[in-house]
Symmetry: C2
Subunit: 510 residues, 2 copies
Amino acid sequence: MTTQETTRQTYDRLANMLRDTAALGGISGLLGWDEMVMMPPGAAASRSRQKAALSAVLHAKSTDPELGELLSQLAQADGLSEWEAATVRKAAKQYKKDTALTEEFVRRESAQETRGYTEWVKARQADDFTSFAPVLSEWVELKKERAAMVNPSGRAYDTLADDFSAGLTAERVTEIFDAVKAELIPFLAELREKGHAPDNSWLVNGDFDVEKQTALCFDIAKELGFDMDKGLLNVSVHPFTGGCGPEDVRMTTRYKQADVTEGLTGTIHETGHALYEQGRNMGEHAMDLPVNEAAGMAIHESQSLLWERMVALSMPFAEYLLPRLREKFPEQVGSRTAEDLYKAMNVVKMSNLIRVEADEVTYPMHIICRFEIERDLIEGKLDVKDVPAVWAAKMKEYLGVDVPSDAVGVLQDIHWNGMGAFAYFPTYTLGAMAATQIYETAAAQIPNLDDNIRAGDFKPLREWLRVNVHELGSLYETADELLVKVTGKPLDPRIFVAYLKSKYTSIYGL
Amino acid sequence: MTTQETTRQTYDRLANMLRDTAALGGISGLLGWDEMVMMPPGAAASRSRQKAALSAVLHAKSTDPELGELLSQLAQADGLSEWEAATVRKAAKQYKKDTALTEEFVRRESAQETRGYTEWVKARQADDFTSFAPVLSEWVELKKERAAMVNPSGRAYDTLADDFSAGLTAERVTEIFDAVKAELIPFLAELREKGHAPDNSWLVNGDFDVEKQTALCFDIAKELGFDMDKGLLNVSVHPFTGGCGPEDVRMTTRYKQADVTEGLTGTIHETGHALYEQGRNMGEHAMDLPVNEAAGMAIHESQSLLWERMVALSMPFAEYLLPRLREKFPEQVGSRTAEDLYKAMNVVKMSNLIRVEADEVTYPMHIICRFEIERDLIEGKLDVKDVPAVWAAKMKEYLGVDVPSDAVGVLQDIHWNGMGAFAYFPTYTLGAMAATQIYETAAAQIPNLDDNIRAGDFKPLREWLRVNVHELGSLYETADELLVKVTGKPLDPRIFVAYLKSKYTSIYGL
């Protein structure tokens, strides 16, 4: 038996264990989807028990000493392909994380999740940050403790960020966001003071039959390339994309009778996520293995936002959409032009306080506010009790708005308060920036991309993304490495800022 | 530490292990439901991998030596309640079964399931029993082998039957079915020769808007008592009731545009199953433990058929249903009376060859034909090659019909051919008989039951069933024991025969 054969056999054994875990992970995805879309409300308690039982099984598998043994044998092995090596690297990193936490800590964290969520819901309803502050402090301490267990010598924020986008650091995010702030804060002030907002009342304050909206959104999702043979589109309170892996991708959306943009942009956003999922339906070398996973949350968000913003909020898409919208809603659309539609889709919500309702120009400022606060909390440079004041000051500085209450301030998001997700927020805006950068490259490489979109031919763009982004899975270690591969350079905030300035200078007649 | 405390602790440890397995079993139920109702078709291969992974986990849990250890410690223990003792008894029996089979056998059986199903679908399409006969022979041998492993000293048929209804034996089934045959064969002949079939063409050959049918069936399911807060009603090709346990019961139905009885009786049948499931939402002493399970397939079927036949095919129900049906379908119902509806719902399909399309009078004969054949196959008294001839002879003797081809004969059912389920068929008719017997007792104990049904007040019956049947779970070892508890005697075929004779003598004007 040659050494080569031994490495092969060891790798195959590893791959079988990982595929088994991936299959159980797919089941976990189904439980999550079902809970949001189908599960009757009275089943919540029994579903909790099912999730706990499955989690225990998954935990046992992901911390199995045999897995650790195989991984350390393969760490130094020759003869693996770059895909296999990436699987080994990614699995080893995950194994290190999974085995780093004590059982006692995991139990404590899980208890805090229940308590945190419940207390947050109460505090938000009562608009009472003071009574919630101890819970937020507990979250901060717990997450610092987690980071210290996983990587005692690392910077805590970076360790936490790594779970959402591998290799992401506070330093890198600060560098990028500072560059955005320097340009975007004055530009937003200019928009507020000198800009002329387009009329979008006919689009967001109308009466749009939900059944017709649904038909329109199904058609568009299919035309964008969502494969209904390997996926579902349903309705849920909070739209999301999940399911059981590339062969069973389930996305949801929601419709508002008054505002047709809600369902449209929501569906297109989720279709972007879903195309990324379906686009990773790869061969034997990757399928059901860690290298087949998404390249982190920032890249995942780049795929949803590329379709939602770079495509669906563009002028060529307005030309594609107008006749379809008119066919379903002739009275509401009337004689409006594609330019009217384009402008109405791109109104900046200047005085908006709520992140999830923000547009592409103000959204980054909501994120930067949160990032700076969470970074300073984790690094011990900010006291929890001072968060509301800092929040208000930043919102004033970045967006020119006053924050009348914590319910529409620090208590608005589930991330820190209800889930303990610190270092997650940056991925939204890093994703938006990556979308702009990737789209710029795509537009340079795909002949007549605007014409394609105008004509409803989304295949060239979708295929370009599949080959250049989706099918790379997690082959590269960080989002920046992937961006270098795809666009020739790491994330460059100037591309994003230039895009926003050029687009909104024109729309707002600056 | 007293002995009492030790038993308690041992039992608690057992209960925790069993609850954990039940939670994973609930997940398995979700996978099954999802596959039939929601799953996109392209996800079949990935779903197979998920099911295989979960099966492996469940198998490991159900054959865990620690489980065996706890069960043997508790087998002789004092101080357990009757509920706890029943859980121990049932779990021990299951453990013995689960550990009796070799891995090699389980693999062979699983391979045969794939092969059997595929070959059966082909053979039925080609109407070719000869080429399928070897597969059926393999099934028979495999099931005899299984029975010998599980219980070397038992009668093979009885061992197989025990999986579907604990304690059921070929001898007992023969005794019951012989009594039915003696009465029902001549009665059916009389019906054929002298009876006058009511007109049901307006009900089964019409045009009934499916959306209206759906609304009607939802209303009726809710009025019967199906708790939509802890369950779902959807559509699938083959109606079934499944889901994830008493807090999440999912039933399906199907609608035919031409035949409103299809959706109605299907929904009511599944509601009967679902009420049994929801009715076992018991306390700590039973919940998620083996004693909380259904008392076998015959009793499960008794609950669906009690609502489908004893209730929904009765005259009082026709009086309840008529105005509801007329409201949705005024033209189709016209001036017809409740008696017209009652009679139209109770037409005997004299020349029908297909079991699943049979009515309550002919259905038992389809089952008896199958039982006698499978019993003789398993006992080596009948050769597979002779099955078509025996089938034809029995169908002629029992129902007076000629069997023109095996596709509508032995190849019609999935049970033996595609699944290897021998000793399952009797539970359908044993369930029908138990339904009659249980209903007779209920009618004697509930004041004015007919009036309740006429008025759409199903609560007294439902609550009576919950208390007297559902909440007993698997407390008693066999269906006959449960029937003694509920009705005062074991299954008595005379009640069933008397019910059919009296009802159809009147409807058919004998």
